[in-house]
Structures are given as C-alpha cells and as structure tokens.
Symmetry: C2
Subunit: 364 residues, 2 copies
C-alpha cells in the first residue's frame, strides 16, 4: 500500500493515525462488540463518544460556556438556508461577498430575508478583502455574514471583524468551513459559526455549529424541526439521529489535534506550509501565478495558475504520477489549487514544492 499526498479541497485528507484507529475499531469499539456505526445514538457508548468529541472540540477552540456546539447535517450549503431560517426573523441580513461561498450565502439568504451585499470584491476577481470600515452595514440588521476562508478563491480573514467597534450591534455569522481548527477564534466577536466537516474535521455529512445561547429560539415558523437550533440544542444534537460515525471520526481528529499540540500548533504549521508553497509560486518568476493580495491569501486553499495554461494537463499528469493528487482548480475559476489542511504533513508540502520546481525546470 502506498498513500498519496491528497490536496483535495474537500472531502480532504485525514490524519493517518485517525484512519488507522478507525480501521482497528471497525468491528469492535473498545470491547463493546459493535462498530460505532452500529450503535444506537441513545446508548451509553455512543453518548460517551459524542460528549467526549464535543468536550475536546470545546477545549481546542476555547469555546465559552455561553456558546452551544451542535452536530448537524447538510453542510455549508444547508447552513446557507438554515442560518437565515433561524436568525433572520425575515428582516435585514448583510453579507460580505468575498468569493463564491459568500455569494451563495447571499443568494440563499434572499429566500428568507432582505439580504444585501455589504461589500463585494467581484470587480477585482475576489483577490482582496474589503476593509470592515468600508462595509455598508444597516442599522437593525438581524446579522452580518462573512466567509472567513473562501475555499474556491483562496481568500482568508486572518482576524474576524469587530462589529461592535464599527458601531454595529448585529451578531456576526461566520462560515469557517475550510479553516476551522487552523487558528484560534475570538468568540467575543462571534454570534454563530458553522463549518462543514469535510475539510479540517472529518467525513462529509457532519456540520459543526457554534451558536451563542441568546440566538436560540428565533426560528421562523417554516424552519424544519430537524434544523431548528433551539430543538437541536435542547436535545444535545439528538433531536434526530445524528451522523454518528462522522461524529466519532471527528472526535478522533480532535484528539489527534490535541496530541499534536492543539490549535496553536495547527496555526504554526499552517503558516509554515503556506509560506513554503507561496514562496515557491512567488519565486517562480511568473511561471506560476497567484493573484490574491498577500494579506488576503488563504493558508488553507492556494489557487494558482500556470502562466502558460497549455501546460496544465501535463502538470496534473506528472503530479499524479508523483503521488500528488487533486491539484486541479475549481471549475469556476480554472487553473490549479493546493489545499493544505491540518492533516497535510510537511512531507507532502515538500513533495509539492519539489514537483513545482522540477516541472518548471523541465518545462519553463
């Protein structure tokens, strides 16, 4: 068996020790005689697994007690509807459009609320971050939505906006799907944060929601019960049957992060990984190009282009032959993309950088 280095934007690479433990426990979780997949979500064993996953996640991100952590389903696209059904009250919603994901959030919120773009970087191809002081925020908005890491356009907020300092009292909603657990979170600035699991957390089909308790209980009448944050919170994420196996694998990932040194260490590694790859791109004399402003660049998702796009198929074929897979860019922007999530080891980054240099040597 030979494992590849997998640069997929999601579902994405998971830590190998997590996969090994999942494989070992597949038929018999810790002497229970059952796979975790086979356990009743109401049974003692699974409730323990779920509680430990939540507690570890809470420690890792220092989530304060007045935030509830929910394990839900439907991913980021699901939350694009679930958030306004729960928080908009049918009122005004301001969305900061910094790429494809926040644009989708804006469109979906429009089904339930008076949703408008508070800023939009479309004109520069989503290669910058608009300064919060320039956002057009409305008095009385139900919430302000940001995507703190745009998976497709490769734009990341290094810090979350301080809405209170801008004189805005609306809660901040953060789609942090593709960089959750890669840096600390300043919860004093957050009302709600959500993340699809399939990047830094675990298998697709699980969504993490962090919600300030005072925001519970505001759902519109048309909000499905299974997606009403109040009901989900009151039932410990078991109003309906949760994605139990996904929660188990996520719990293993959380423990792996803790054992590796926690979010501070993930933060340090993300810096190191991104510096290495952007350094190689920027040092290529224009052979490889990333167009995002340096201060807005994502450490998780690095879109880039070959100046001569005719080389792209050869680049991808050679990468695959070298065990470097899923480097093709998203179809909406084209080009190439390297996603460097927590589970990507430095050896994978070095292999990528070596390949970039080698390909340029041969074809540049």
């Amino acid at each position: 068996m030979s494992r590849v280095f997998n640069f997929s934007a999601g579902p994405a690479a998971l830590p190998e020790p997590v996969l090994r433990q999942a494989a070992e426990e597949m038929l018999d979780w810790q002497g229970s005689g059952m796979s975790v997949m086979e356990m009743s979500h109401r049974g003692r064993e699974f409730i323990g697994i779920c509680e430990e996953a939540e507690a570890t996640l809470r420690r890792l991100l220092a989530v304060p007690p007045h935030f509830r952590i929910l394990f839900m389903q439907g991913g980021g696209l699901g939350e694009n509807a679930i958030v306004p059904m729960n928080l908009s009250g049918g009122g005004a919603v301001d969305v900061v459009v910094t790429g494809a994901w926040s644009r989708k959030s804006l469109a979906e919120a429009g089904k339930y609320a008076d949703a408008r773009a508070a800023a939009d970087t479309r004109d520069d191809g989503h290669t910058s971050l608009p300064p919060p002081a320039q956002w057009r925020l409305r008095d009385g908005a139900a919430y302000v939505h940001v995507c703190s890491n745009e998976t497709i356009h490769g734009v990341e907020m290094a810090t979350l906006p301080d809405l209170a300092a801008l004189g805005c009292r609306a809660p901040l909603v953060v789609d942090c799907s593709s960089h959750v657990l890669s840096r600390p979170v300043d919860w004093s600035r957050v009302g709600l944060a959500f993340a699809g699991a399939q990047k830094n957390v675990g298998p697709a089909g699980l969504t993490l929601v962090f919600v300030r308790e005072d925001l519970l209980g505001r759902a519109l009448a048309i909000c499905p019960s299974a997606f009403d944050y109040r009901l989900v919170a009151d039932n410990g994420s078991m109003f309906n049957t949760p994605p139990t196996y996904g929660i188990y694998v996520a719990g293993l990932v959380f423990r792996w992060i803790e054992a590796e040194g926690g979010v501070a260490e993930m933060d340090r590694r993300a810096d190191a990984r991104a510096a290495r790859v952007y350094g190689c791109i920027d040092g290529s004399g224009g052979f490889y190009v990333n167009r995002v402003q340096r201060t807005a660049r994502s450490r998780m998702n690095l879109p880039f282009f070959l100046a001569d796009e005719r080389l792209q198929d050869d680049f991808l074929a050679g990468a695959k032959a070298a065990g470097l897979v899923q480097l093709k860019g998203h179809k909406s922007v084209g080009g190439l993309r390297a996603s460097l999530y927590n589970a990507m080891p430095m050896a994978g980054v070095e292999a990528l950088v070596d390949y970039l240099a080698d390909f340029q040597r041969r074809r540049g």
Copy 2:
C-alpha cells in the same frame, strides 16, 4: 474480540463482511492511496463508487427508469419537512396515522400544508392497520403519506395501498425507513419513498429518496436549495457535498444483499426471523405479550412486554450478559423491542429465542 447480537432499532447492526471490507480499505481504497473518506466527491473514484451504489440499489428494488434515486441528508425527521416543502404546494396533505412516526410526519407537514389525518389508530394504541377503503382522502390532495413500517409501534404494511383503486389520484408518499430492502416494492403505487439509512442500509446521516420524475420541480420558494429534489436530482446527488462515506458503506451493503440472494432472500429471511420470535412470544402462555394484530405485525421491529414488568431489569441484564444487546423498548411505549433487520443472522434470532425460553423457565 467477540461480536454481540445487536437488536437496536437504529443505528443498527450491519453485515460483518461489510464492516471487514470497510476496515481493510480504510487507508487505501483499491490502490487509490486514499480512504473513501478523503476522496473528493467530484473525483473519478468517488463518482464510480456512487454510481455503482445507485445502480445496485436500482437492481435490488427493480426501481423503474422514471424514478430518480437521491442520496440526501437529514434522515426521516428531515424528510418530514423536506417532502411537504417539495410536494405539497401549500395545499392539502392526507396522512395515515398508524404510530409515532406517521404522527410526527403529520405534525411537521402542518407547517407547510393543510395536513390532516386520513385515519388514526390512536384509540387502539396503534395495534392495527386501518383498511384503505376507510381512509378519509380528500379530492385534490397534493399527496397521501403512509409510514409502511412503524419502528416504535411495530406495525407494518405487507403491501402498499393502491390509491388509484380507491379513486384517489394523489401520489403516495411512503416512509419506508425501517423496512426498506426487506421486501419488493410495487412502484406503480408509489410517488415518492424515503428511508433513513441507519436501519437496513448503512450509517446514520444518509437518506435514500426514490422520487417519480414528474414530481420534481414543485418545491415551495422557501425550500432550501440543498433539499430541493429538482436541484439534487439534476446534480446527481452532488448539489452539495453528499455524505460520501455513508454512500460507500451503503454500496457495500447493497452488494452484500445481492450476493446473499437479493431482496427476495431478505424477504424470506425476514419471514423466518419474525415467525421464530413471534412464535416464542405467542407460545409463552402470556409471559411475554405482543399486542399488535397478527396481520399488522412488523417483521423488522417487534415490541413486546413482560406480563410482570418488574422482571424487566433482570431480563435486560441477563440478555446483555448473554451478548444480546439493545432490547429495551422505546421510551414512549416502554417494554422491550427486538429489531430484526437484514443484517441480523438467524444465529442471533436463535440466541434470542433460547434466552426468552430460558428466562421464562427461570422466572415464569
């Protein structure tokens, strides 16, 4: 390692060969160098896995070409909202209430439609099936909803109602979560069927939806895009990231069923398992009691009671010591329950029947 016999109503026991294969392929699916959990849902490997799962399921249940098969999220409780958001048009919905699950469906549909009970067996404690000829069906109803197997009350429809023969032109919606793939389906009687995976199919977090093509494209404006059947169908269940690992495991289960002899063989085994356990209960001279009318009894979920309920804790403790777990009844009805899904081997049934007889001998 010693595997138990797991009578959980769901998440529930899975075939051991499926779990073995999942464990073996966890770090490297068929030479890809990746776990299925790590695969992009847009990649060649996963698309192949998903297409094969769907094709096998279609063969197993002889699903006609004018039905689409969707892999969704949210489970049965999610579908209770998703179905009326897609099919009701805000009009009339008739629900046949035969137990706890159809009652939940009625309540949730009431958020989106003029939902009424076409029949309700509450007065006999949901121990019977109301004859279709007695259902109060309204002209022009958007659909008629039945739960063809009530997991909690242990009531099962051996055949689906023929609405056309009753002069009703509304499509039939079938919640078949807890007995899908245990008997053939007469698709000529069905408009839409859905099933949470966590009983006969695979891990929790995956929902199967079978929908007649002419019913697509009717969603209410407030239906979340991620749950709009038309969008899900047009995107091959990849409008949002699907629960990829769940689809993979479901695919292994489908292949296991096919290798064992298909749905006809599952049907035969379900008869044999249920006959053995009901025979033991009915032959106990009233020591064990099942109150459901014989023609309405579920082959999948067998709720029963000890005539002397003070013995229940001892019964459950002894069962657990004998490796028979999850026999406690649902909290809303109390007592005991044995769920006998496709993955329950006859050896598990014999072990249960032996234990029932032995316990009665010692305590009767």
